[in-house]
Symmetry: C2
Subunit: 281 residues, 2 copies
């Protein structure tokens, strides 16, 4: 049996009881280590499980899947993923390989940023398409995330922006630690797009004053949530990774009340009442 | 301390280790019992936790929140929610009351249908706004869910339809078991909308042949996934609740491969290649 087990978002104890039981019963346990991270490392997990973990980098998962699935028809193998196992396309591919090889598989779900972000006070029902924000280089500055955010906002919807995580995908041995985008960097890139669109005379789908939410280390004991205008979030220090940024759409008064709990001074003062049930910025 | 603890989606062992530790340490433990259900009941949870649970119906949570929060500044109180604690607005309200009363709170996340649905093979990144489908009556037949689905499909996005759960909200004592919508009922209502729009000569955003996914008891050992055209899902028996229905948008070839694992005969034969990277139906 191949177990795909979500580890949740915080530390070693965020695994489910069912997941922990499965880990303990498996003869080999892989830890997927390139799409996300916990606030604790491999060693802490190994100590907690009482098991050695095999680090699975992108190369192993994409090129060496046969190795992961070896003997999984006669023994139990676990594949651990931070968050929920189906956050990344790669894991669908592993499942398909198992199915094609006649190996049964079982998924043990857990929280991921996609649902846990609801704790900031914005309703999950009111989110549109999720976007990912990539690190710009001097020559590569894609702006499609801005257009998707504006499309969501036009429909009154919030946008979860997942910040990119850069690892060295070229070799099997990754000695350099991955680079994580901060809320500040994402907010800064967004402001640069807004300014260039402003110069082009485009009607803006969002501005520097749009209310945004910065979330760091979601679901861990060191979680931080900051609510501010996009401008305020450029200079807001949220500490260690992982970070996510949410751009609000139309806000329900209950959402505004929840945002207020974590709001920067004056962050919510520019909200305009649209009708008796919603606000926007 | 007020703990809001997600129970995940399957049975008693889908709670996280952190959540279980918190439950065991609390002097009062409430079980929210009106927005969702596990495949096991209150008694199974009580036996597993070694604790009595207090059933929290809608009335208690909305009108009797003070009772839940009583002494929570000096003792630990747990509020258990199937899935993740922030699936329903009600729970934001409880958090706000705690904040206003100066009671610290802590959220222990878990999987919810919003992220676990990824196991059907559709990428979570490609989902648009979630819609909820309510039971029609003779005089009340809202069609807004259809329009939202079409809007998502126009943008190439999939739609998660959460089927409504009807309980008797009028009195505190609920003796009648809640009524859950099946995938068949949701598909049938959708087909009725399609037919009436067709008669009005409207250009259709989806048809009876659109590929859909029916999911039952997601995340439990009795999980069932069926992929078929909307027409096929009307007569597909998925068994006991809870059910969810997904309407596909543009499909990536890897998504098609994953859907094939659970597909009805011929369900995917009417897919059209849009360009070299996507399909639609």
């Amino acid at each position: 049996m191949l177990y795909l087990i979500g580890l949740g978002l915080g530390d070693a104890t965020d695994i489910t009881v069912k997941g922990l039981q499965a880990v303990k019963s498996c003869s080999r346990v892989y830890l997927e280590a390139y799409t996300s991270i916990l606030t604790v490392g491999k060693e802490a997990l190994e100590e907690y499980y009482g098991k050695q973990l095999i680090l699975a980098d992108r190369d192993l998962v994409e090129q060496g899947a046969d190795q992961i699935l070896e003997d999984a028809d006669v023994t139990d193998v676990a594949f651990l993923v931070v968050g929920d196992p189906f956050g990344a396309t790669t894991h669908s591919d592993l499942v398909l390989r198992a199915v094609n090889a006649g190996i049964p598989y079982k998924v043990i779900h857990n929280a991921s940023v996609m649902n846990a972000v609801g704790c900031c006070g914005l309703q999950l029902y009111n989110f549109g398409e999720t976007v990912s924000v990539v690190f710009w280089t001097e020559t590569w500055r894609p702006e499609s995330f801005y257009d998707k955010i504006c499309k969501n906002r036009t429909a009154g919807l919030h946008t979860l922006c997942l910040e990119s995580l850069v690892t060295d995908f070229r070799g099997k041995k990754i000695y350099e630690p991955p680079r994580f985008m901060t809320v500040n960097q994402a907010a800064d890139q967004l402001i640069q797009v807004i300014q260039s669109r402003k110069e082009e005379g485009e009607e803006l789908g969002m501005t520097e004053d749009t209310v945004c939410v910065g979330v760091a280390r979601l679901g861990s004991d060191e979680q931080k949530i900051r609510v501010g205008t996009l401008n305020q979030l450029v200079s807001c220090d949220l500490g260690a990774p992982l970070h996510s940024l949410v751009i609000t759409g139309r806000l329900h008064p209950l959402e505004v009340d929840m945002l207020r709990v974590n709001a920067e001074p004056n962050a919510l003062e520019n909200l305009h009442m649209i009708d008796s049930s919603t606000y926007t910025s």
